[in-house]
Subunit: 161 residues, 3 copies
Amino acid sequence: MRIEQRLAELGLELPEPMKLPPGVSLPFPWVRVYGDRAYVSGHGPLEADGSLAQPLGKVGAEVSEEQAYAAAGKTALAVLASLRRELDDLDRVVAWVRVFGMVGTAPGFTRTPAVVNGFSDLILRLWGDGAGRHARSAVGQAALPFDIPVEVEAEVVISAA
Amino acid sequence: MRIEQRLAELGLELPEPMKLPPGVSLPFPWVRVYGDRAYVSGHGPLEADGSLAQPLGKVGAEVSEEQAYAAAGKTALAVLASLRRELDDLDRVVAWVRVFGMVGTAPGFTRTPAVVNGFSDLILRLWGDGAGRHARSAVGQAALPFDIPVEVEAEVVISAA
Amino acid sequence: MRIEQRLAELGLELPEPMKLPPGVSLPFPWVRVYGDRAYVSGHGPLEADGSLAQPLGKVGAEVSEEQAYAAAGKTALAVLASLRRELDDLDRVVAWVRVFGMVGTAPGFTRTPAVVNGFSDLILRLWGDGAGRHARSAVGQAALPFDIPVEVEAEVVISAA
């Protein structure tokens, strides 16, 4: 339980499953495992209790770059929580291969890589430069669900249970 | 021909290949098969004859959420038509692993998951909760080709011919 | 060195590694290799010296469709330069399977496929209709890093070194 231990050393806790807003139905899993791959659905930032992390809104307007960086870190924790629920053990994630970072941007905000670094930096602290090494894009979206400022989908390689 | 039969039972028909608008050249296939994977190019909603489904425009402005949900269902049928042409038999699709749903959104429209559910719901009706289970994102784009309201790309696992 | 030779025949040179603008940190590789796959991070258009290609801005406003088509071709060269640095030999790329083209669009510009054709056309000239054949999406983003007009991420199949 190497990754769990590092999370504890960093004082980080994984959030509860996302509490869906009323009237929302999401007919898909947060993680789809097939063979040696786990495909991670788009996740947003959560508070510890699974509620949407505040502030909501566009980065560059209602949400500052610093707040968005923090939101990307919370998004990473939400992804790790889903992976732990699906895989039981985060040490089964043996390689991060693709991270697709989406930022809800106000007109004129283009520092999307600085925002998504909040995700990448945490993955690299936990998995290191080898297994944590991932291809990445970080781009601005016209809209994200629930007006979250950041959303990330990913693909990771897993070992057998 | 299990999937074909379910489509018939649901009264659903797959559309003709997309009729490209004048002056448009798309130098790529709708489906790229490699090994046990079929990579599905971004598809939009089509009418039965392969013309672009109406209405066109942004969801939340020219296109209502309900119309966009229906467009996402037509997008699923367009994807299935491409897969059938490439694979001959839709039963060769043994697992859906990734669905990336893109919605052309008017300012303020954030209910992108409700729109892309029109795609996911149909896949789940046809393939069920096992093989149909897919990781998904559903996000808002500043623009989609031809001003279509919805576009979906996907990755599926296929069995040998 | 088949691909290198075709590049030379076409009079095309691969650019230097991207010169990051001041204050920008990108904690991820341009290419992530795992098994028989190379996952290509989002790349933008570069000049030969690795500086961002001009003009910057939105397609349909500061950047014309023709300029954006050219930028997509330069984006392809930037991707090839990263792949060559990672793989040593571009002939190790035996199949292109997925190209995801993102265009920074001004309101009303929807000809995103015509822009991303600048990427696809070059890949097809170099690898041909077999190995170069790729699934593709081409969509409009609200923002791209550094205000580049085009960004492409991709997945390719590689042979052993």
